[in-house]
């Protein structure tokens, strides 16, 4: 799993202030095409704020940023067609069926009508939700709803998907399936930008950025980061790194 494509996300000195509170403190990083990029940090570290800036939901205070070739300051609207976003909380319509949700998002992403049938079948196959296509989303187990949410985020074949804690509240088997699927996506050339709390999951990322209190504390591949933080411990894992780095800041 090596990728050396062009940068699809490039961020320099990106800053977001809410009043006097600095949520994201001049961070810089870049993500390459087809990469699985992990964005790690404790609650309140600025993960969601960063994702929201990259998705064009909120405007950054200062810095530079380009996502899928569009400037996040001036072209925020243009970004939206090239990205998929799956939020932490299930944010599709619970009182509609998977089919109706998919249909709605095909419309919202203005996918050409002649492609609808193929896309619908593709999503159902990928998410394995064929049998419940006409059940209400609210009646589905959380893991299935996550799959539906992911399916809807990919309907328009985005270049980049942002997954904000996609596996929180999901059982281990579904989580494994989920990561297999993310792998599969990356192989197909989709860039995956994922945030997570689970350090075992972070091993699936090619590169990770650890963020705490709005600042980046570590960057690189999981093994590189472990080696840097614990040069003399062979048995250390990302969990140890996470605890060490986050504790350091809080002292």
């Amino acid at each position: 799993m090596t990728t050396s494509g062009p940068d699809v996300i490039h961020v320099e000195d990106l800053e977001k202030k809410f009043g006097r509170f600095v949520a994201v403190d001049r961070i810089s990083f870049s993500v390459k095409k087809g990469e699985i990029f992990g964005f790690l940090g404790p609650n309140g570290a600025g993960k969601s704020t960063t994702i929201r800036m990259l998705c064009g939901i909120i405007k950054p205070t200062s810095g530079h940023g380009v996502v899928a070739g569009h400037d996040i300051f001036t072209d925020a609207e243009e970004i939206k067609g090239s990205i998929g976003y799956m939020s932490q909380r299930f944010s599709l319509y619970e009182d509609m069926t998977p089919f109706e949700n998919i249909r709605f998002y095909l419309g919202v992403y203005s996918v050409p009508l002649e492609e609808w049938d193929d896309r619908i079948e593709w999503v159902f196959e990928m998410t394995r939700l064929q049998d419940v296509r006409h059940r209400l989303a609210r009646e589905l187990p959380p893991g299935w709803r996550q799959r539906l949410a992911l399916g809807c985020a990919l309907l328009h074949r985005p270049e980049i998907v942002f997954l904000d804690e996609p596996t929180s509240g999901v059982d281990p088997i579904t989580r494994r399936h989920f990561w297999e699927f993310i792998d599969h996506l990356a192989r197909a050339g989709v860039t995956v930008f994922v945030t997570t709390h689970y350090m075992d999951e972070a091993h699936n990322c090619e590169r990770i950025v650890m963020i705490n209190e709005g600042s980046i504390v570590a960057t690189g591949s999981p093994s590189k980061i472990i080696g840097e933080v614990f040069p003399d411990r062979a048995d250390a894992d990302l969990n140890d790194v996470f605890i060490r780095l986050m504790a350091r800041r809080n002292e």
Binding site: R89, S91, D95, F104, V108, Y109, S110, L113
Partner: protein, 373 residues
């Protein structure tokens, strides 16, 4: 603007709206029930006046007076009192609307050629009704007097007098239902369009589904259209339903043009949907939206001329009513229903609705877009 997006959004709104069984009832059956109930209840017509009589004279003339009252279909003598105290008690206990007291020397005065006083007591707690009842009783007494004069002075030569022949236009039987039912139609349309738009937007915010919409290329204007078009369609469908019901059930005449009615409804909806949007920007929960809606609706209702004539209001309040879209829509809907007037008469109201609608809607949209950022 992408019409595919708007179309799918509208479809989604309809799916959600009708998936909820409560909404189905609320949208279809509730307006009919309200129209039915209000149509019967909201009536200020005086059709039945109950009268108690204390006759201390007990003569042919006093009997003639009683007969004159009884002969009138509006009056119904229900009680005969034995003395003044009893008469007053009957009135106080609200068993009758009017109490008539004929004194012991009633006939003597008449025979002497004097005017003979009788006392009529009315229950004034409902001032409007009381004045109508008093007016009716004066009418009966006038006729009685004329008959009496004709009888007492048979050879008296009448000199020429005015004979007023009164015709009421537009509502020949002065049926108050004809006045109120079109108003109820207007009010129902306002209530539904206002409440449902604000709720529909806040529901997305409460459920967090708006977050997913914001990361799509959906534009604010498309979102607003998607949220308002369904309610324009529903309000118009209700307009048809309620109008048909008003015509065939209540026999309210529809004199004017249906197409003008629908065009005017569209203009009216511009304001109500605008206010609905506005409410959605200032409320965080559906409950708040509901409370705020009622906060708006009450003054709209009171200051519209629906029940209380605008001409009777203090001047400052009268100016305020010019800001009320319902005021204009009531004139239009009553004009179309009862008078059959068209554009040539109603254009000032239509113009006012357009101006208010455009201003309200534009401001609401501006505010709404801000809250999305």
């Amino acid at each position: 603007m992408n019409w595919l997006r708007v179309r799918e959004f509208v479809r989604k709104e309809f799916i959600q709206l009708f998936r909820d069984r409560k909404n189905r009832h609320l949208l279809v059956i509730a307006p009919l029930i309200q129209l039915l109930v209000f149509g019967y209840v909201v009536s200020t017509d005086v059709r039945d006046i109950r009268v108690a009589i204390l006759d201390q004279s007990r003569t042919r003339e006093s009997r003639m007076l009683k007969d004159a009252l009884d002969a009138n279909r509006t009056f119904r003598i229900t009680h005969y009192a034995g003395n003044s105290t009893e008469l007053e008690e009957i009135l106080v206990s609200r068993e009758v609307d009017l109490a008539v007291k004929i004194g012991p020397d009633f006939t003597e005065h008449i025979r002497r050629g004097d005017s003979s006083p009788i006392q009529i007591l009315a229950d004034g707690s409902m001032s409007n009704m009381a004045s109508v009842r008093i007016a009716y009783s004066s009418l009966v007494l006038d006729r009685f007097n004329r008959n009496l004069i004709r009888e007492l002075y048979p050879e008296r030569i009448d000199y020429g007098k005015i004979d007023a022949r009164i015709r009421t236009w537009y509502n020949p039987n002065l049926d108050s239902r004809n006045f109120y039912v079109p108003g109820i139609v207007a009010f129902l349309i306002m209530l539904i369009s206002l409440l449902f738009t604000s709720m529909a937007i806040i529901r997305e915010r409460e459920a967090g589904t708006i977050e997913q919409l914001i990361v799509t290329p959906l534009k604010p204007v498309e979102l607003i259209l998607g949220k308002t078009i369904p309610y324009i369609m529903i309000a118009q469908a209700q307009m048809v339903m309620v109008t048909v019901f008003a015509i065939f059930w209540f026999s309210i005449p529809l004199q004017g043009s249906l197409s003008l009615l629908f065009a005017a409804t569209c203009l009216f909806l511009l304001s109500t949907l605008g206010i609905g949007l506005f409410i959605s920007t200032i409320s965080a929960t559906q409950q708040q939206a509901m409370m705020t809606t009622f906060f708006f609706i009450l003054p709209f209702f009171m200051l519209s001329g629906f029940v209380f004539p605008i001409a009777n209001m203090p001047l400052v309040v009268q100016w305020l009513t010019y800001l009320n879209p319902l005021r204009y829509f009531l004139v239009i809907i009553r004009g179309i229903f009862l008078k059959g007037v068209g554009l040539e008469i109603l254009w000032p109201q239509l113009l006012a609705l357009t101006v208010i609608g455009l201003i309200v809607f534009t401001c609401a949209v501006k505010r709404f877009r801000k809250t999305l950022d």
